[in-house]
């Protein structure tokens, strides 16, 4: 495979992580349009740690994720007072607020004969951990997918544990969940915190493979991608998110590159079409059940 293909592998990996960050929060029935903001925090924090403080990528990535999760936790609290549509507005505004914060953020230091660090509207250039340490595109792609696989496996396992059931119970019916003794506060804030951590991880990786980030990378389009993957893919399990990230990034954006501008129109049109014909996403609970029956996995329940 050439570098371009490995580059695609990286992009799909990062977008899968991005989608999973929104997936956790969506399970509790909350829509967060702030994911791009959490990604931005992870990206800038991790970037500053590797460039300015010369950390290794892994501790920098985890710290970026933690920083984003702290902010997400703070955002999660108002989510207890406001629900549904108000939360959409609040999170859109929060995401834009974070973007504008980095737009105004300027902190540069001299390193050798060049000046490095985030430079407001000019963005944050020279995040060169990978090239400086001799990682090839292939190495980076493998690294991205190791991280993505860990997150996928953790969420897949969580889905089958009690924690997953609790999240889904809150998502299905808050009142019923509360009446069986589920603490809504803890569950909602935990979902936001976990979603923020995962988004921060996605941001840290994103900053390092693009080597140049600016505030405009973290706009509403990125926030939309984050919730679009799990919603289009379906919330029945983590694989829907993976599939949707692959489908949109590879099929819609890359394979159809020859279509030029028309391709951009297709993203919006595709969302509208899927929501009209498959409102619960491609792999909704119903479809997954049928697939399992068809493959002979779900026979147990019939017996």
């Amino acid at each position: 495979m050439d570098d371009f293909t490995w580059g695609m592998v990286q992009i799909v990996g990062v977008h899968t992580i991005l989608g999973l960050s929104a997936y956790v929060i969506l399970l509790t029935g909350q829509v967060s349009m702030a994911q791009a903001g959490f990604v931005a925090i992870g990206a800038y924090v991790a970037g500053m740690l590797t460039v300015l403080a010369e950390w290794h990528i892994i501790p920098a990535m985890v710290t970026g994720g933690l920083a984003a999760s702290v902010l997400a936790c703070i955002v999660g609290f108002p989510a207890l007072r406001i629900r549904g549509l108000m939360l959409v507005v609040a999170t859109i505004a929060f995401g834009e607020f974070v973007r504008l914060f980095w737009f105004n953020f300027d902190y540069r230091i001299a390193k050798g004969d060049i000046v490095v660090g985030p430079e407001g509207g000019e963005g944050f250039k020279q995040i060169r951990f990978f090239p400086e340490n001799g990682w090839t595109t292939q190495d980076v792609a493998v690294f991205v997918w190791v991280v993505a696989a860990i997150i996928l496996a953790t969420l897949w396992w969580m889905d089958r544990s009690r924690a997953g059931k609790v999240l889904r119970a809150v998502g299905e019916d808050e009142m019923a969940a509360q009446s069986v003794g589920i603490n809504l506060t803890v569950v909602k804030v935990a979902a936001f915190t976990a979603g923020g951590f995962i988004a921060g991880i996605a941001g840290a990786i994103y900053a390092h493979y693009t080597t140049h980030i600016e505030h405009l990378n973290f706009d509403i389009l990125m926030a939309t991608f984050a919730i679009a993957y799990p919603i289009l893919g379906g919330l029945a399990n983590v694989w829907g998110t993976l599939f949707a990230a692959f489908f949109i990034q590879v099929i819609v954006i890359e394979v159809l590159r020859d279509l030029g501008d028309v391709r951009n129109l297709m993203f919006g049109a595709l969302i509208i079409l899927v929501m009209n014909f498959l409102p619960h996403g491609l792999f909704s609970a119903k479809v997954v059940r049928k697939l399992k029956e068809w493959m002979g996995i779900g026979k147990m329940s019939d017996a």
Binding site: L85, V89, N264, A269, P279
Partner: protein, 304 residues
């Protein structure tokens, strides 16, 4: 800054706040009737303004601009009404009623669709939009002193917006269509039992909101001087902030909040500059969410 500078900033801002108020009313109307947010609303409003430019380009030729400014407003309003109806049909009509996530996502899709069509049609370049009094009075200013003046074009826009709001309130409170709209907003099932077609009422509400949005879109074009796809996201965010500060579903709330946000925004602009302005507007929203989540005029009930 001296007092008169603040006065100037607030005056300009409140007049510009008129179009925030119109956008906020649109969001709030749709929320009131359908209990859902139409994130494609501001995009459709700008779509109308773009369409009016297209119509003018078709009619006019060379230096002769096809439409007088006031007809531009009308064309924009009609086109945006049509776009709003299309958004209703593709995003609301056939998506499940009880699963608002699907509708929300579909309106986000519609937002990007409209934005991309605008980018595609104009190659992403900002388009010049005529001033509201172009050809009638050149560069109108009502000067009170050296430091304080009222821009004539903004004043005209402000008055036009007030007229549009008055017509809307008349429509809602003095006509049968308005009665039906309020009935559906209050209790959908009961309205249906009285023989009101919920679907038709929803569609008409979208068209009314769209017409207001189209006016707002043309006003923004006339006040700023250009139309650009870069305006879509900020105006959507501002409109939503105005809606929440005013109280979801409250029309007077949207009007007051629109003027308030417009006025304060200009003070923030004067104090902190263009790059930080919107951050303070968002902080204002967070203050409201923390201390008065029902907004200025909203009902106490927050659980939907």
């Amino acid at each position: 800054m001296e007092f008169v500078d603040y006065l100037q900033a607030v005056t300009d801002g409140v007049m510009q706040g008129a179009y925030y108020a119109l956008i906020g009313i649109g969001f709030t109307l749709i929320f009131g009737v359908m209990n859902k947010i139409n994130l494609a609303y501001a995009a459709a409003a700008f779509g109308g303004a773009y369409a009016s430019l297209g119509i003018a380009a078709l009619i006019g030729s060379g230096d002769d601009f096809g439409l007088p400014p006031l007809l531009m407003f009308l064309a924009s309003a009609v086109a945006a009404g049509l776009f709003a109806w299309i958004v209703y049909t593709i995003c609301f009509r056939f998506t499940p009623d009880h699963y608002e996530l699907a509708t929300l996502m579909a309106t986000v899709g519609a937002f990007f669709l409209i934005e991309e069509i605008a980018v595609h049609a104009t190659d992403g370049e900002p388009m010049d939009f005529p001033e509201v009094l172009q050809g009638i009075i050149e560069d109108p200013m009502i000067e009170f002193s050296d430091a304080f003046a009222i821009r004539g074009d903004l004043l005209t826009i402000f008055l036009l917006a007030l007229i549009a709001m008055a017509v809307l309130l008349l429509l809602l409170y003095r006509t049968k269509l308005g009665l039906a709209t309020r009935a559906v907003a209050q209790q959908r099932t009961a309205a249906q039992l009285c023989g009101i077609s919920v679907d038709r009422t929803n569609a008409s509400t979208f068209i009314i909101a769209g017409v207001l949005g189209g006016l707002a879109g043309a006003m923004i074009g006339a006040a700023v001087g250009v139309l650009s796809p870069l305006l879509f996201v900020p105006l959507t965010v501002k409109g939503l902030i105005v809606t929440v500060i005013g109280g979801l579903g409250s029309i007077p709330g949207a009007i007051v909040a629109g003027l308030l946000v417009g006025g304060l925004e200009n003070v923030f602009l004067a104090l902190r500059g263009i790059t930080e302005r919107d951050m303070y507007v968002m902080l204002l929203l967070f203050l409201f969410l923390a201390f008065r989540p029902q907004g200025l005029f909203g009902k106490k009930v927050l659980r939907d």
